[in-house]
Amino acid sequence: MSIKGKACIVGAYEHPLRKAPDKSVAQIHAEVAKGALEDAGLKKDDIDGYFCAGDAPGANVWSMANYMNLKLRHVDSTDMGGCSYLVHVAHAAQAIAAGKCNIALVTLAGRPNSEGSSGTQVRDRGVNLPDAPYEMPYSPVTVNLYAMVAMRHMHEYGTTSEQLAWVKVAASHHAQHNPNAMLRNLVTVEEVVNSPMISDPLHRLDCCVVSDGGGAVIVARPEIAKKLKRPLVKITGAGETTKGQMGGKVDLSYSGAVWTGPRAFEEAGIKPSDIKYASIYDSFTITVVMQIEDLGFCKKGEGGKFVADGNLISGSGKFPFNTDGGGLCNNHPANRGGMTKIIEAVRQLRGEAHPKVQVKNCDLALAHGTGGALGHRHGSATLIMERE
């Protein structure tokens, strides 16, 4: 069974705050749910499916379902780190296609900015982890796991720091038009490569922001979506996978996108060059370069050249990406960027992005996410959406 055309994204909402010390995580989840319902023109009791991930209090479905007092007949708390929400939208489409629910809510919220989170901290990842004794003594942290991927990419393909910097430069061109973005100043390649080195070869400006906030989307059956007076955004293809260390045959030159991309394109019946707008997960600049290659937008190893010289800037470049400013400049709520990737793709398909970054005739968009760390274990998820 394919999910092509079986469900639509009818509501999308991004929390405006980037620092929310006085709001609970549960309240932010509920506020984004309310925002997405208002965007869709639906009521809370219309929801019969609910999806959330590890950022939800308790890392289960029932805590937030209880807070919001939802009445549900389908639930899913799949946690795939930052790409969970792309997986949720695909799973919601599957559930709708199978008759398990009609209107599904997906929420994300968190406050890492207020809580002082940083990508250079060793995170406590829980108990019983089989890999932990063989890794934790070496102080793996988010930034150095991605940095090792970037270092290998430079070695194998000749990618340069200047090429990586162009990803941030392009994001800053978009963020200048987003009044809610954390970093709204334009930056240059020189500013990126001269920013402090955090973990070789990644500089401070190669890293995404740490922000509070959240977002929500609502996925509904097409018959319901057609009654809602909003532009129709159909889900036409999806792919999900994980990639790890392969029993010690570690290969950091590619990500799980090499599997999720082709599956999503095949289901949607399109090819990469058909995509008009792409939201690409941007925890770090290298994340974007590698995923652009792996999704087939350019040849393997040529991602550095592809992103250089403003090619990702909407209006002037050939491959407009992350027109909200992305995780690199706008926000990265709960240290998980997947939800905002979907939301900006929905805005583009509806023609509701900022006029300065809106892609003309944007009828086909892709959102791609990564969870975990490219440098050891990660999840990948691709979603293709089409405006009818």
Binding site: S118, G119, T120, Q121, V122, V127, N128, L129, P130, D131, A132, P133, Y134, E135, M136, P137, Y138, S139, P140, V141, V143, N144, L145, A147, M148, V149, A150, M151, R152, H155, P196, M197, I198, S199, D200, P201, L202, Q245, M246, G247, G248, K249, V250, L252, H376
Partner: protein, 134 residues
Amino acid sequence: MATPYQERKLRDPALNPGDQPYFDAAAEGKLMLKKCRDCGEYHHYPRGLCPHCFSDKVEWVQAKGTGEIYTYSVTRRGGPVPYCIAYVTLDEGVKMMTNIVDCDLDTIRIGQKVKVVFRKTEGGASVPMFALAS
């Protein structure tokens, strides 16, 4: 400019059942790998079932303790001192996460030959790290 290697406090490994022999051997200066008696493949990190063929006939074998740097990164912010995390490709063919120690961290490069050394964690466990071989 140089970034001399400095010792830092290392987290203790949180052992699960089955992990003790690896760390017992490390305390004697030996780097151990798991090898599958059915498919003949080495794997790392060590498991009770072969990740390649799912056989449970996996046994500990001592690695030569030499290899080369597959990738690395010197983390300069966040910790009390800079440190170099890396993946090393062992001569047996498997790659392991580790730290590179005992050198100017700015001179580390992909492809350099390395040999195993051992460092103690806060609680006294020995963990394998690597130093430049030349």
